[in-house]
Symmetry: C2
Subunit: 226 residues, 2 copies
Amino acid sequence: MKALVTDIDGTITNHARRISLPAIDAIRRLVDGGVPVVLASGNTLCFMDGIAKMVGTDGTVICENGGVWRRGFFGEPVIAGDRRVTLAAFEVLRDHYAGNGLALDPFSHGLRYADVAFARTVPADEVRAVLRDHPVRVLDTGFALHLQEIGISKATALVALAEAMGMTPADFVAIGDSENDTSMIEAAGAGAAVGNAVPEAKAAADFVATAPFGDGFVEAVGHYFP
Amino acid sequence: MKALVTDIDGTITNHARRISLPAIDAIRRLVDGGVPVVLASGNTLCFMDGIAKMVGTDGTVICENGGVWRRGFFGEPVIAGDRRVTLAAFEVLRDHYAGNGLALDPFSHGLRYADVAFARTVPADEVRAVLRDHPVRVLDTGFALHLQEIGISKATALVALAEAMGMTPADFVAIGDSENDTSMIEAAGAGAAVGNAVPEAKAAADFVATAPFGDGFVEAVGHYFP
């Protein structure tokens, strides 16, 4: 395989979102060996820049679960998702829960260009029911709930990014742990799930690591980049 | 000592800004042992949030070289510096170099609340000369040039933050490597410089590590938190 795309939270971090030192080490070995490594997450671009810089990639990232992607630290960010769509749905949701005396506040509001993220204080299925007539998907990353425009995912971003990199998704190994990683695990040439992954991610994967979190990531990297 | 405040770039990272794994390990040991660890940098708040989350602190940060600080991930950011002042000076600088056919562009423009940062494509001393009549300091972090309102520094932020934390700067060990760390190294109860630190930082320090970068940081932490 030519390149790697990996989720961050729950895949190269533990449940508390502390990054795995063996995972950083494995990523640096790939990068220094000339293998492009793309970090793909629901986080914002500037949050991911801090992580990409410290880990030591070239800054190629997929952010906001595919709503935003960028090639290299100095590339022009591409905003694929339409935030007007997700914000409109969020307003409906906020009004619904305000009626029940529950306040919903979006995370990193001014820093998001495509999706809307908020705390997991309400059940994802209830949110899906409230928004069933809206053109949004409700993602539960295990760390937050995200509203994302239908047709946008880590997989759609991987397709566009791979092309910008002169490759195809078939050249990539994708590693993840949660619902929002399933699409890229399926779209990539090879897909892997860490031991703590949700059943859907494991079912979509070609390789399922025994170990959870960062150790499972290292296991998957070792399998595809021996 | 009760708490630690540390610079990031060049202190817990190498020259390429890759974070030191032994440094992460040392910080986690302190945090898990109940010692507050504050990350202090010229970076933006959201960039530092990515780093703080992955390293595993409680999110207490000093950003923009003291222009912005926040207690914990969910604290209210305090904006100490006045960006109108630094932007006004930057406009003068940009016009000056535009006259010489040199374009200056600020880094992470929409993400900064106090200072203005730009690439080190022009000599710091020349910038200081151009801006000698403006109420700004020109900081050269070795990674970028920063314009900062006079009276704002990592030290002034440390004083305010320590009070918000129910402590004083005397309770802190400060560790750094560059010009912009000197003020907090002096203001803290104890100051340390890593082996690669600039002469001013070493001169201000009570303890100078033999090793450079992250290994020097670990050395200093071991000295003050045996």
